[in-house]
Amino acid sequence: MITTTEFATSQTQESASFASGAFAWYPVQSPEWTGTSTSDIRLFGLVAQLDTLNALVERLRHLLDLPADWDSYGAVPVRADVVQQAAHLIRDWLTEGIPAPQIVPTPDGGVQLEWHQPAAYLEIHLSTPTDLSFYVESDGHEEEGTLATDRSRLASVLASLASSRSGG
């Protein structure tokens, strides 16, 4: 009998393998093989999402606890309003199937969201809740942009991340 935690872990590991293309032929564990129903699978998938969400929330909370000079070079504390905006963006993106980013503090009190994928690298920098810039490397090309001027391009890059996750 597989436990919820074990299943969530296996789902997470499968997602990682799937993103790399190593198991593109094996995206979802079949209910027939495990003795679990399709509804169980959906429930377990939700648990895995919640685990991801919990880890992200913990990470954001941790960033809010960083003191001044956390980087030893005079960084200012991470701004609460930036963290709140990052949380909103990540929540929306997760519901759209976009993979969870890695979250890094920046010395200006902002946060940087990073996706390191085999086919693409994306970083999004929030220095204030409304000041969002991004940098993407894909297929040997580099692009820089801002949400204000390049919203559709950013949406396209995020969609490609979701697509690579689902195998599309």
Partner: protein, 155 residues
Amino acid sequence: MESPATASDPPNDPTVPDDSLVFRRVPPDQVVRDATGDRTVSTAAFNSRGGPLSVGLEVLLRELRHEPLVMLQGYPTHGLAGLTAARVRQPDPEHPEKRLGVTKDRDPDEPPWHGSITGKITDSLGKKLAAGASEGIVVWPPDQPDGDSAPGRAE
């Protein structure tokens, strides 16, 4: 072949040899996992907030007979990365006008080995600095969480 200097080039000190190392402390929160799961220094570690970026210079550390790890005294949770001055000075291949310099910075308020990376660190140049730092890591920050517990790692 080295590009000729122009009036718009950032300050650069030729007495910092190209083959000497430029060190930067790496806080634990700025270490991430790359697409293969390996630790890598985030580009956020090279966010200079528009000004010069503080570094330690091997050429000055040698003069003072200090090991690079002296830079971690008082910062037990940090790591240390080093990359050559040549790598810092290497222009962006797609935009040769975007380049950085390395200078000595003998500020009495700073350690005697203090130097600066000068010029505008664009996202692209920051990515190259972070890649160089990851390759030239001296010591990673201790007590890093393993890969599976790092947020976003699962993706």
